[in-house]
């Protein structure tokens, strides 16, 4: 951890009257990273972002952007930051082009060539007033303004809500370009495929608490993976193997979930007459659901 990390949060907590919206969040996002911030509706994603930007006041703890306290010194903390809000609220009487012009002045810089390229890529009609644009098109205006600013840190709150699949692809391309250029991206989302495709690290938020965090590989490692085995005879019983759970048993087939190392299972299976064996890593969806499954903490079948 260094003072130049784009985002650092220490025990960041927010309570709205009697609702604890965010509970002691510790978070570090390093330079050049694409960090996926996952959680269902109401988990506290937008609250986190409002605290990171100093728009709401932390009940406890603090947030820093590039080492500058976001609540005490927001204007300075925001100098290298661009933000895309969850809801595209913009100035209805301005056209897109005027909005770009205004936001560029407010943010301090813009790369006009890149902006034109993005306008082309996102197929935006620039002369239309914001009030005449659909939600998806207003979302594009926000995205173009943010990415064209070439900010060192982009904070995106569910940026693809309202975008069609083609525009979703354009968005992914733009994120990857930003990443290549070394920009840091904090991406709040509940679209798992998007996070899986783009993010280096993922944090999973549940009811205001960060319940898991790591690279996708790490998360997979910690979660169960699924092994399906068929046998040339009756399926054996696999009692007493550490971390192994038989999710489904047929006469000569088993579906097994393994948490932790797969070696004990492989050693055991080596003694059986295995016909076929397929293993797959859990998808992010399974990891995600794993964290939200209240029943027994296992990956739902």
């Amino acid at each position: 951890m260094s003072a130049n990390d784009p985002i650092r949060a220490f025990g960041l907590t927010k309570r709205y009257r009697d609702t604890l919206a965010l509970d002691a969040l510790d978070l570090v996002v390093e330079p050049g990273e694409v960090y996926g911030y996952l959680g269902p509706n109401g988990a506290g994603k937008t609250t986190t972002i409002r605290l990171l930007l100093g728009l709401h006041r932390p009940t406890a703890g603090r947030a820093e952007l590039f080492g500058i306290d976001a609540w005490r010194n927001p204007a300075r903390a925001h100098r290298r930051v661009a933000y895309v809000a969850g809801e595209p609220f913009l100035w209805p009487s301005l056209t897109s082009e005027e909005t770009f012009h205004f936001l560029a002045r407010v943010q301090g810089s813009t790369d006009e060539g890149y902006r034109d390229l993005l306008v082309e890529r996102f197929q935006l009609e620039q002369r239309k007033k914001i009030r005449a644009l659909s939600k998806g098109n207003r979302q594009k205006v926000q995205l173009i303004a943010a990415f064209a600013g070439r900010a060192d840190l982009l904070i995106l709150d569910e940026p693809t809500s309202g975008l069609d699949p083609l525009m979703e692809m354009a968005f992914r391309q733009t994120v990857l370009e930003a990443k290549e250029r070394g920009q840091t991206i904090f991406l709040s989302s509940h679209i798992l495929s998007e996070v899986e495709a783009l993010c280096d690290r993922v944090g999973i938020l549940r009811r205001g608490r960060l319940v898991d965090q790591g690279t996708l590989a790490e998360l997979r490692h910690l979660s169960a993976q699924t092994v399906e085995v068929t046998f040339e005879g009756n399926a054996p019983t696999l009692d007493g193997l550490y971390g192994v759970h038989v999710a489904e048993a047929g006469p000569n087939a088993l579906r097994i979930e393994v948490s932790g190392s797969i070696r004990p299972l492989l050693e055991r299976l080596a003694r059986e007459r295995v016909a076929t064996l397929t293993s797959r890593e859990p998808s992010l969806e399974e990891i995600f659901l794993h964290h939200y499954d209240d029943s027994d903490g296992r990956v739902p079948g």
């Binding site: 930007l53 927001p74 809000a85 913009l90 100035w91 056209t95 082009e97 407010v106 301090g108 009030r131």
Partner: protein, 528 residues
């Protein structure tokens, strides 16, 4: 509960604060007029003298209309309370109509409602029912105020009806404007334009000899022609009823045919870029507020011109010395053009204070629409942003004050009145300490309780002004009279500029603004 009644109840619940505030204003104002007249002019002789001099004065009639009967408390109250009350009722009518219709569409909620098991006609009728319910509350407020002022029940009920009658027409105008304009704001401006026009026609009809018939051309004149407590003519009620019904029906027909969410006239949706006034948030705010500023400037300037032209309508000889003291109890001492201008410039102090509050309300609107999040996520500081808005409001207030003083001077000069130009500029400047005081208080409210801030600051200014007008009549003790800032405003150009009062107001305003800035910096941003 049927869908339509659910809509009506929600709309009525939505407007309960506004309805209660207007009804309370009506109640207090009606009560104060009745009690005040009985107290100040106890005998028939007093009242005859009052009618001959003061009641016949054009400048007074400008605001209250033409009196028909000044020998009785009821007749006086019908003139003073009914004249102003009908204008206030008109304002309420258009606000209520636009709030119940266009504001809902503008916010996108109407789509949701109309996607339910309710037809457009029923939804429209439900909005009408909510407006009707609100009008009944207004009527009750006025009626109770008159009863409390010991006027007879039948006459009071009729006067309250005459005063509230313009609601039908102006709610109709508001509903029509809501069909034409695509946004709440433009609808409000259109409907307010209609009200200003109706008022100007009444002014011309009341003040010009031989043009009295013009009163029949304005809904505000109809309220006068209903002649409560002065030979009532209830048949005149058909005019507002039929006029209102036509407007309401016309708006209903349009509402059934047009696209939900759009207006008949929706302006252009595409435009070539205009890059002026985009360089900073304050510049953008100026860009957004220019239209509304022009409206305030135009409206106040027309008033200033009329007041200037009429400032010579009093002559010192027409008012006996014995009466002058009594008039002063009512807050009036108009014997010279300067005196008339001094009395009526207090109205500009009030109007410019309201303008200051409207600017803070516009800032709050930006926050409620969540546009500030985008702004404050960039390198814009909150205090700098709010300070920019306040500076803009102060500059706008100063521009309006300067304009009204010059225009009023020109109006007076056109009648060869001896009013010094320099003194008139001073009278304009005299509006500013009070306006800046309320600007500071409005920003304090914005910093501390943003959601209620606009309503609170408008209510504060209005209450302070109304209290100034009625407190003495209610026999309030001296210290209670002095709580309103308007009590401490010198009536320029007739009186001297009150330096101490101005300094205190500016200091309190600046302190309140500073605390407001501090509080805004420290609180969460809040959506609508």
């Amino acid at each position: 509960m049927s869908p339509a009644s659910a809509i009506a109840r929600r709309a009525l619940g939505d407007s309960r604060v506004r309805n209660a505030a207007f009804a309370l204003f009506f109640l207090l104002y009606a009560y104060a007029q009745a009690v005040g007249y009985r107290h100040s002019y106890p005998t028939l002789g007093d009242r005859l003298e009052f009618a001959k001099t003061f009641g016949a004065n054009k400048t007074v009639q400008l605001f209250y209309g033409v009196p028909h009967e000044l020998r009785t408390v009821g007749g006086y109250t019908a003139w003073r309370a009914g004249g102003i009350g009908s204008i206030v009722a008109g304002v309420w009518g258009l606000l209520a109509a636009i709030r119940a219709t266009r504001a809902e569409e503008d916010a996108g909620r109407q789509e949701l409602v109309l996607a339910g098991a309710v037809g457009r006609g029923d939804a429209y009728a439900a909005s009408l029912a909510a407006i009707g319910g609100g009008a009944a509350i207004l009527w009750a407020g006025f009626f109770l105020g008159l009863l409390a002022g010991r006027l007879d029940a039948g006459g009071s009920a009729y006067l309250a009806l005459a005063t509230v009658a313009p609601v039908a027409v102006f709610a109709g105008a508001g509903l029509l404007a809501a069909q034409v304009a695509a946004t709440r704001r433009i609808a409000l401006e259109l409907a307010a334009g209609a009200l200003v026009l109706a008022f100007l026609v009444r002014v011309i009809a009341d003040l010009s000899t031989g043009l009295g018939w013009l009163r029949w051309a304005t809904p505000l004149g109809w309220s006068e022609e209903l002649r409560a407590f002065a030979g009532p003519r209830p048949e005149v009620l058909t005019l507002p009823l039929v006029g209102g019904a036509l407007l309401i029906a016309g708006a209903g027909v349009i509402s059934a045919r047009r696209d939900v969410g759009n207006g008949l006239w929706s302006g252009r949706d595409t435009a070539s870029p205009r890059l002026r006034l985009l360089s900073s948030p304050t510049a953008l705010a100026l860009r957004g507020e220019l239209g509304s500023f022009a409206g305030w400037l135009g409206g106040t300037a027309v008033y200033a011109l009329v007041i200037g032209v009429l400032s010579t309508s009093f002559s010192a000889s027409s008012i006996p010395a014995s009466l002058r003291q009594e008039l002063e109890k009512l807050g009036i001492s108009i014997t010279t053009p300067s005196g008339a201008l001094g009395v009526y410039f207090l109205l500009f102090v009030f109007a410019i204070s309201l303008y200051a509050c409207s600017q803070v309300a516009a800032a709050r609107h930006e926050e409620a629409e969540q546009r500030l999040e985008t702004l404050f996520a960039s390198a814009v500081g909150r205090r700098r942003w709010l300070a920019g808005r306040l500076a803009l409001a102060a500059a706008g207030a100063a521009a309006i004050a300067l304009t009204v003083s010059i225009v009023a001077w020109a109006g007076a000069a056109s009648q060869h009145a001896h009013v010094s130009f320099g003194r008139m500029l001073e009278a304009g400047a005299n509006c500013l300490p009070t306006a800046l005081l309320f600007l500071g208080l409005a920003s304090l409210a914005f910093g501390l309780f943003p959601r209620a801030s606009a309503g609170v600051s408008y209510a504060l200014v209005t209450a302070a002004f109304v209290w100034h007008l009625v407190a003495a009549l209610l026999g309030a003790p001296h210290w209670l009279l002095n709580v309103t800032p308007f009590q401490h405003v010198g009536l320029l150009p007739a009186q001297a500029f009150r330096v101490e009062a101005a300094v205190v107001m500016l200091a309190v305003g600046a302190g309140a603004a500073a605390v407001g800035l501090w509080a805004f910096r420290r609180r969460d941003l809040m959506g609508a």
